[in-house]
């Protein structure tokens, strides 16, 4: 009896003592690194990474079965292509030492000088942890655009596009808002990427849908989603990962990350329910596809406001997300453009609504590092937010149009008509998703 108890005591305490020893050893090396914050940022980076395969399934279920792998591939390959772009040049362009508020300098090219000592961006975590966390944002953003040109884009053109788009749209905008650039200096609030991620990708998606043109047979042939359970699984993974996306953007583990976690979930459920109710009234039945879309719209919309607003404000923002994004999606067929998987309607509209909402509901009582919004007596913040959205929207649209035109001229954006009929899986990748 006694012996086993002693043994148990030793097995419990020995690792704890070793842990304490190792902690104090590290504390001597880098006094400012907080293990709790670092753990949360690394976990958050992993959570945000999982969002991109989640997006792959979310989009993959919505297309016809002949395009399932081609659609999943768009997201999946972005992980590899953009991560490499990021460590080589993207990180330094976005977060490198500021040059006149426009772009980051090349000082950190190839992660030169980016080590385990903390940076000014996140003073309690290793610089490398902040870098890899931001890498996951850079990865998912161009993948979001792929919903606009699903089922008809040439794969080679896609890879060139995301590489150029990240370099000329994502990296500069990330610098302007988060990297010490001019929009951040003007006071634009964007907690986790309403502008940097959702407005850039959503507006570029609209540009892409207009330039590449409609799918063959759009609004004539039946183009129903081939596997909605896959889409719902993807939505679930996105939702799960979004806690890393928004709560991780506190860049620390504690009060602020908790607020962002709660606002994120509150807005997501408010938008889910709002979407379901409107659809039930408007089309007569509450659909699973609608509920999943509503959740993603709510998550995208709360993103810029997550760490600046109260949970009750998040509830209102979620309802607004449901209303506006639902309307945008239903207007699409009347306007006639084919944003196939609604990258603009969900992310462009949601990101803009959320960023503007931050200008209404932001409160210094929630986040002393933020600002007060219109409802807290600071009307100026509302116009700053509006201006930030408008400028980045125009910039993203124009640069995307130029990039797409150049790629179209050089390699061609679109697959041949017979390839589109046969499907991307066989013609672009030489494989099929299903054999039965």
């Amino acid at each position: 009896m006694m012996n086993t108890r002693v043994l148990k005591g030793i097995t419990v305490f020995l690792p704890v003592m070793l842990l304490m020893l190792s902690n104090s050893a590290f504390a001597a090396d880098a006094a400012k690194v907080d293990p709790g914050d670092t753990a949360w940022i690394l976990v958050s980076a992993a959570l945000v990474m999982l969002m991109t395969p989640g997006l792959a399934l979310f989009y993959g279920g919505m297309v016809r079965r002949k395009n399932v792998l081609g659609t999943i591939m768009h997201s999946f390959i972005a992980i590899a292509v953009i991560s490499i772009q990021w460590v080589l040049i993207g990180y330094t362009l976005s977060f490198g030492p500021d040059i006149k508020g426009i772009i980051g300098g090349l000082d950190w090219i190839g992660l030169k000088g980016v080590g385990v000592a903390p940076s000014d961006y996140a003073p309690t975590v290793p610089h490398l942890a902040f870098m890899i966390y931001q890498a996951m944002f850079a990865v998912i953003t161009p993948a979001l655009i792929s919903g606009a040109f699903a089922e008809r884009m040439k794969f080679s053109a896609y890879v060139i596009f995301i590489l150029l788009w990240s370099t000329f749209v994502y990296d500069p905008v990330a610098h302007w808002i988060w990297g010490g650039g001019w929009l951040g200096s003007l006071g634009v609030l964007d907690f986790a990427g309403g502008i940097v991620v959702h407005v850039t990708s959503g507006i570029s998606a609209l540009a892409a849908a207009l330039i590449i043109g409609r799918r063959k047979g759009y609004l004539v042939e039946q183009m129903t989603p081939h596997n909605l359970p896959m889409t719902v699984l993807g939505a679930g993974l996105l939702w799960f990962g979004w806690f890393g996306f928004n709560a991780g953007s506190a860049l620390s583990s504690g009060e602020l990350s908790t607020v962002a976690f709660v606002t994120t979930h509150t807005a997501a459920v408010a938008a889910t329910l709002t979407w379901m109710i409107i659809e039930w009234i408007h089309h007569g039945k509450p659909t699973m596809f609608g509920a999943a879309t509503g959740a993603i719209a709510g998550l995208a919309t709360i993103t810029p406001a997550a760490g600046f607003v109260s949970p009750m404000a998040a509830l209102i923002i979620g309802v607004a997300a449901g209303l506006f994004c639902y309307t945008a999606l239903n207007a699409k067929t009347k306007l006639g453009y084919d944003d196939s998987l609604d990258a603009f309607g969900v992310h462009g509209v949601g990101g803009a609504i959320g960023t503007i909402s931050a200008g209404l509901f932001a409160s210094l009582a929630i986040n002393s590092g933020g600002a007060n919004g219109l409802f807290y007596g600071n009307a100026n913040q509302f116009f700053v937010q509006l201006g930030g959205v408008a400028f980045v929207a125009v910039y993203s649209f124009v640069v995307s149009v130029v990039l797409l035109k150049i790629i179209d001229f050089v390699v061609g954006l679109r697959v041949r008509e017979e390839e589109e009929i046969q499907g991307l899986d066989v013609t672009q990748h030489g494989e099929e998703g299903y054999f039965f």
Partner: protein
Amino acid sequence: MKMISAVIKHFRLDEVRKALTEIGVQGMTVIEVKGFGRQKGHLEVYRGVEYEVQFLPKVKIEVAVTEDKLEDVVNAIQEAARTGEIGDGKIFIYNLQDVVRIRTGERGREAI
């Protein structure tokens, strides 16, 4: 010999199989099919885009029988597959020229 081919509702399939085994039918083939009849299609809405679904899913069963069993089998299928609603399906009857049991090479009535 006759070939009976019946298009029925999915959820009646088990009843039909039971009814047929009860009267001694020793084999049938089942195929998933789509089609339209007097039963109208329905509307599906995906993110606000409406699609008229014109072809409804049904199952088609095929049973080969000797003439003396034909009426019994047709009656069994009709009774088991019937719900009384539009869309219960149809039974088609063809002349069957020959049958071969692959394992033994038996032909005609012996092979059914």
